[in-house]
């Protein structure tokens, strides 16, 4: 029992997944492990669930999420949301977060509530239709400056899509960091001459976008930045 469970767990983790659909599960297993498990793709969900229970105990199970059935590792409900939140590009809505997860609505809502309360997930704004926008904060342990700088550059590249002038408010929204953390990394990157902060054109921005620029210790407001040595 433990050997098969371990194999299934390993294969899921290699794919960096906590769960898969029924179809994906059979592809993941291959015909050999399917025979060991005693199931075929044509078997019912009930049959598959019984087979997994018999061979893997609680370590791998079949769960219903919405209208679909999934084969999943036995992890807490919160883990699904954490995993998905880290894959999504911030900001995202609660609906986007819970979509296609092996959770019922009630359990998804409870898990979301817990994660919001923990501060790992924060609400960074509201859409014009009053749907909240969420951003993953991650663990609360402080990252090193270099880790943050790398994350910052990744965000810059993602937003810039090959361009070298990016609005600071967009970077701030994309990363979803606390204000101090974001501002600190801006100052560090500027001091290391990796970026140039520009005052930009305030006439084209909304008040919120202006406020989400960067104000330095002298009170100078910056709205865009460019990466120095870009493309060289």
């Amino acid at each position: 029992m433990s050997e098969l469970a371990g194999l299934i767990e390993a294969r899921l983790r290699n794919k960096q997944k906590l769960f898969v659909s029924r179809t994906e599960f059979f592809k993941l297993l291959g015909s050999g492990l399917c025979r060991t498990l005693g199931v075929t793709p044509k078997d019912s969900v009930v049959r598959l669930g019984a087979a997994l229970q018999s061979h893997c105990g609680d370590r791998v199970r079949v769960v219903q999420g919405g209208r679909a059935f999934y084969v999943t590792l036995n992890v807490p409900d919160d883990a699904y949301l954490r995993d998905k939140a880290q894959r999504l590009t911030s900001p995202f809505t609660p609906a986007q977060l819970v979509l296609n997860l092996p959770l019922s609505k009630v359990r998804a809502a409870s898990a979301l509530t817990r994660i919001l309360a923990s501060g790992e997930l924060i609400c960074i704004g509201v859409r014009s239709d009053f749907i909240p926008l969420l951003s993953w904060q991650g663990q609360t342990e402080p990252k090193s400056v270099e880790e943050d700088a790398q994350a910052f550059q990744r965000a810059f590249n993602e937003i810039g899509q090959g361009r070298n002038f990016v609005a600071i408010h967009r970077l701030r929204a994309h990363l979803g960091w606390e204000r101090d953390r974001f501002d600190r990394i801006l100052r560090e990157l500027q001091a290391e001459e990796r970026i140039l902060l520009n005052m930009g054109d305030p006439t084209r921005l909304s008040r919120v976008e202006l406020e989400n620029g960067f104000v330095d210790r002298n009170g100078m407001r910056y709205l865009t930045l460019n990466w120095l040595g870009f493309g060289r």
């Binding site: 070298n164 609005a167 290391e192 140039l196 902060l197 520009n198 006439t203 002298n218 407001r221 120095l228």
Partner: protein
Amino acid sequence: MKNNAVRQRLRAFNPLASVAAGNPWDSRLIDLAAINQAPFEGVKALFRQAAQAPGEPLAALILGEVGNGKSHLVARWRLACQSGRKAGGFALLTPPEGGTAPFCYLLREIADGLRQPMGQNSGLSTWHHLAAWLLVVEGQGKKERSILDDMRQGRKRGVRWWKGVQDAVSFDRLPPEARSLAKVLVRWLPGSASERREALTWLRGEARILNHLPRRLDRSLYTVEQREEEARALLLALGALFAHVGRPLLVCFDRMEELRTPAQHAAMDQIVTFLVDRMAATVPVVLARGQFWEELRQARWNAQTVGRLESNRHELNGCARAEAELLVRLRLEAVLGSRGMEALFFDPAVLLERLPAGRNTPRVVLTLANARLRELLDLPVTVPETPRQRLDTVWEGMVRQLPERLREEPLRPERIAQVLRLYLFGEQTSGEQEDSGWIELPATGSQPAWLWMVESQFHPKAMIHRLEAGLEWMQHHPGGVVTYVRDGRFVIPRLPKWPETNRVVQRFQEQGGRMLHLTPERALRWYLLGELHDAVRCGEITWMDGLNREQPVGIATLIEFLRSHFSGETEG
């Protein structure tokens, strides 16, 4: 120089107070060569290359946000391109206000640019220098300096030589389309004041009455399409002339963020593509804000042209600490001189003690240094001015220059429409219509419908077309008010000249249409308001708030200012 004298000198003239480049035609610049040196040299290299290989398609793109020194670069290029043995032409353009007749616009703007004095000491325009270069290349027996001296005196010197030139020079070695242009430059431009005015008017594509130039150059019977075709031909001819004399022409485009409508984008794309691919010995340089450049590309500019621009792309990267210190020293030294610097009671580096570590834009450097200098001079804390006060101050400075600018300000009809539209509608609809000179206000309540027609083309057929459209509008809007606005410097000739135009004007007035002819001074105020609008739109006019922070003056403030200064202007 003693300590007190240094303080007084700095209080009287603070060299750090101004961060803007101002007018690139004004050579009184205090600048540091080390800042933005790579883009400066890059464009200079293209300029030299255009002289050696005039048929090669060359272009450059300069990207930099506000306060990064784009305008300073333009001024430096102008000085560099117009001095030395291989000096050439320079023109600075902003995007067209509308999308119609882009080549007429391009010709006019380049012609106006070439009207400016060449270099710092010449006193003569680039057109005059081009004429001199032509005569030297044609081997007419005089050197450039002597020819220029003759032209300064209106050909009163060396009369026999000039007579010989007029009779003999045929420019057979030039392409046929360039010969007319060459003859205007050589025969009429160096002449009397009236000949020179007429030649300059013709060179910018206008259709004034010709008293000196040959009748075959009369444009008054051309349609708009014919004028556009002729403008293209003249531009090609101009390029051919520059190539013939072995000199290049640098054409800079600034304030690209003024491009808002698809029609403007299409016109700009046509213009730049033409300059890159067709016009010889010409290097177009586009200066744009970094973020805005992507919007330009998405407006589907010609991919090949974008490629040419991107192949010589430079990004402005601010200044390092050492450069910042040098910049501040240079500015102080310009006011104090070397002896004053020796007596300076503080180390200039102190002015930058609050400068953030790393690279900073020149604007940030100068703003922080200025704030610190004011503290050291014990100047009172800046009383926070309002944006409106700042605008009033800037306007007063512009108006003080009126007498000087009245002499040489070329006609800029789009400015009149721009300002009128801004006054009536605010920023929302500025530039959105194809024909920016057609401005309608619908009837509301007891107010009748209004139509303002701003004449943008000084051409009889265009005037007739405009006035007849106004007459038709009156038929569809009984009780409506139509005003035809134009710069009064463009004089409609009296009968028997332009008979059809005069007939339509009479009919227009008999039907109740109003003619608003702006006096030169009044027209210039409108033009200056247009310039002020452009500066505010580009974030170039700033004010200091109570926390000593530089903030841009917004459009709302400008509109309030405009409505207080402009009310009554739309009356006759």
